[in-house]
Amino acid sequence: MSFPILSLLILTPIIGALTLSLSSSTQLKNKTIFLSGLWITTGEFLLSLLLPIFYDKSKNGYQFIEFHTWFDKFDINYYVGVDGVSIPLILLTTFLVPICLLCSINSIQNRAKEFVIYFLLLESFIIGVFVSIDLVIFYVFFEAVLIPMFLIIGIWGGENRLYATFKFFLYTLAGSVLMLLAIIYIISKVKSGNIELISDFTFDQQIELVLFLCFFASFAVKVPMFPFHTWLPDAHVQAPTSGSVILAGVLLKLGAYGFIRLSLPFFEYASIYFQPMIFALSCVAIVYTSIVALRQLDMKKMIAYSSVAHMGFVTIGIFTLTQDGINGAYFQMISHGIVSAALFLIVGVVYERHHTRMISDYSGVTNVMPKYSFFFMIFMLSSVGLPGTSGFVGEFLVIMSTISVSVYLTFFTAIGVILGASYMLLLYKNINFGDIKSDIKQLADLTNIEIFYFSCLAFLTMLLGIYPKLLFEMINKSISLSII
């Protein structure tokens, strides 16, 4: 197909950001800026809808391929294309960014123009990661994501934002540079950055183990996996609501995407070799962070820890190296993208009204905000993994696939599900039920805008929960190719 849809997807937000930055900021009202941002991102979303429509599910390999030489001398090319694994994530991104802008119209008062610009840049970089099939431009986009995110947390974050944003940036960078070295080594061996070519190449076993660890350092920080997860609660707590939404919704998926797209096909031997380590780390992540989440006083922190636990399911699923496992992990990624984004929005709603995130400051919210509690319930149950919601399918498939590996693994993941249910229910109970506190009484229920985006998210959760085939049709073929 000659129509350069992927480049267009990358460029639209950048061009939007450029036009916005060139407009004079004094004349524009905040609302106009947000509205123009919304128009751009909605257009981007509609554009990205063309991908699943025109994507041919029966074919193998990448589609909508664009190829331009970039650095002749080093054989590095601008080489983009999508397959079933990337399309749902692109859709998730383009779907969440307008919601991020929508939810911050009221809360972001100062420097609105910059805010919208950073979000647009962020969107185009993230899409760049998902579409690139050359290692170097993958890395370029993967790193570039840090810049707007650093600024978003640093400028509009909470009190301790500097600590959080520095920690976020440096953790991720430290992981990534090791991957950079590995990428350079791979390119020097294979003489090409093309992902497909590298997948066919077999490295020495010892070297492959080292390379795997280098990639692992980067992705494990991004996912985040157990010992590298400490940046996440800080970043989430300090980030503005929209920042948390995009962080939990999409940025965490970059790591898991990297595992599926790069680590598995490149390092077949090492993936099997390191299977036990990753299982162990993921089990610790699931059980330990769930217990930590139980004891949190801050809502955002609790959801952040629950994110780590849920991403533990994803890594376990991926490294079972079975079709079901990876399918389930992928489903869990998308589901977690929607649900955790929604949960952060839920926290954002009350935070905007009551200016506190402490669980103990809330009780009996149901009585004042019934619509709010309704949506909260849907997302809470989805996060718990109730059948009929999207959370169930992913967790179920992952747990099922672990049986073929080890029963102990199944045991620990199942414990994670129980713990997950307990902290989410506890959170819901503490906030929504009980006596009405006096200062809770004046809280207003959801506005129409909020109802709008919550219904969109709730609809998606239910749809995926009831008809998961929608997603599986898309990913099955591509995933079956990445399994060894």
Binding site: K73, V136, E143, A144, G154, F166, A174, V177, I184
Partner: protein, 462 residues
């Protein structure tokens, strides 16, 4: 019969010096603008006929390319520098045409240094360059710290020149020749001599552990002189160091190679650890330049794989970034004089769009974050070094750049997140503005359209 063709660039600069000397007596403004014109002419001359100057000599084509490219870069750099220097010097009541003369002598020295095939000529070039630098450091005679910087630079620089001479004489004693190109069959004596020469050169490019002068001199000198120290002479010395490495096949001499690797690793680490706690921006830039020298040394060592292209590319990007950063700094002043502290950058975002965003670009580029050009510069150096088997050094290099990211981020934090405490005056210097905006654009747009720069470097090495 000596062929004078190959000296045309040097003769050109020498005549520029004489003309400036005469002209400056009557009209200093015109003397300065005359030099801009002169260097533009020189760049055009070099771009078009550069290779023909050396065609009658026996120098290899590769080396000729090296000469021409580095001289082009030097003369373009001088144009930018001369355009920049007027306003900052005027602000400090230092605007005299002698400053340009020192500059010209330093550039002449750099030219001689780059194209010298003989250790004695190199020594003359290096001394000519260094002596002008000492004067430029101490140019603000009424300022104590400027004097201090000049004296420190001079006394330490003289020491390093002593090392250089001693080293050269040891080599001469051993081999009976000063010529760089024909030296081989080293014995222990000339190895020691060479190591002394290397130490002196490391001092000139401020590689650790020979870097102690750098932060003090950077801080004390007038900012415009600091810009000069950080860019052109360092570039010239580095090119000479590269030539020494290449011509003498230092990678084959185990002990010297070991020194090289150690200096590279120490520079990478000292650069970042020194910079972390700095409060004064020029000191921070001094340490950060040490870190970058580490990268450049890595580039020098791994030239076998991807030729000189990677090193040159890194140098060009580094020069552009440094010019940009200093153009911004020179454009800012506090109410009570020049601004020095990093904390004085607080809230720059609110006072000036163009400056803060350019600084953001420069510092992310220095930190090596894509999509800015600095990333690609580091990427190519690392590619070369990994291909040449310097795995450990590459790991040190990338880890040091993570730590470096910390203090670059601190500056960005000050500009973007903090509220301003002191009012910064905008100099509104149009040339400065043009320079930092255009260098910011080059750094950013390189990602989209890398061909021109890559081709410039590539074509000259074909």
């Amino acid at each position: 019969m000596v062929n004078l063709y190959q000296f045309i660039p040097e003769i050109f600069i020498l005549s520029l010096i004489l003309i400036t000397l005469c002209f400056g007596l009557f009209n200093k403004d015109r003397a300065v603008s005359l030099n801009t014109l002169g260097f533009i002419l020189l760049s055009i001359l070099l771009l078009n006929y550069g290779k023909e100057f050396y065609s009658s000599t026996q120098i290899s084509l590769n080396t000729i390319n090296l000469f021409v490219l580095s001289k082009i870069i030097l003369s373009i750099g001088s144009i930018v520098f001369i355009l920049l220097l007027k306003r900052p010097l005027k602000n400090e009541n230092l605007y005299r045409y002698e400053y340009v003369l020192f500059l010209l002598f330093a550039i002449l020295g750099s030219f001689v240094l780059i194209s010298s095939n003989n250790f004695l000529t190199a020594f003359i070039g290096l001394e000519l360059q260094s002596l002008s630098l000492y004067l430029m450091a101490a140019f603000n005679t009424k300022n104590l710290s400027s004097n201090e910087a000049g004296i420190k630079y001079f006394s330490l620089g003289a020491l390093s020149s002593g090392f250089l001479l001693f080293g050269i004489s040891m080599i001469y004693y051993d081999t009976g020749s000063f010529n760089i190109q024909y030296l081989d069959n080293f014995t222990a004596i000339s190895e020691i001599g060479l190591s002394l020469v290397l130490i002196s050169l490391f001092f000139k490019v401020s590689a650790a552990p020979f870097h102690i002068w750098t932060p003090d001199v950077y801080e004390g000198s007038p900012t415009i002189s600091t810009l000069f120290f950080a860019t052109l002479p360092k570039f010239a010395s580095l090119i000479f160091l590269f030539r020494v490495y290449q011509e003498l096949n230092i990678f084959e001499i185990k002990s010297l190679n070991y020194i090289f690797q150690m200096v590279c690793a120490i520079s990478l680490l000292v650069g970042v650890y020194g910079a972390i706690t700095q409060k004064v921006i020029k000191r921070l830039l001094a340490f950060s330049s040490i870190n970058h020298i580490g990268f450049m040394l890595l580039g020098i060592m791994s030239y076998q794989f991807m030729s000189e292209g990677t090193l040159f590319f890194y140098l060009i990007i580094y020069l552009i970034t440094t010019f940009g950063i200093f153009a911004v700094l020179l454009n800012l002043r506090t109410v009570d004089g020049e601004f020095t502290k990093i904390s004085q950058l607080n809230g720059l975002r609110f006072t000036s769009n163009s400056k803060s965003i350019s600084m953001l670009v420069f510092f992310f580029s220095l930190a090596g974050i894509p999509p800015f050009a600095g990333f690609f510069a580091k990427f190519f150096i690392l590619s070369a070094s990994i291909n040449d088997g310097f795995i450990l050094l590459s790991i040190i290099a990338v880890l040091s750049s993570v730590i470096a990211a910390f203090y670059y981020l601190t500056i960005i934090k000050n500009m973007f997140f903090n509220k301003s405490e002191i009012e910064l005056l905008d100099d509104n210097n149009k040339t400065g503005k043009v320079i930092f905006i255009s260098s910011g654009l080059i750094i950013t747009l390189f990602f989209i359209y890398p061909d021109p720069l890559i081709n410039l470097v590539d074509n000259l090495f074909k």
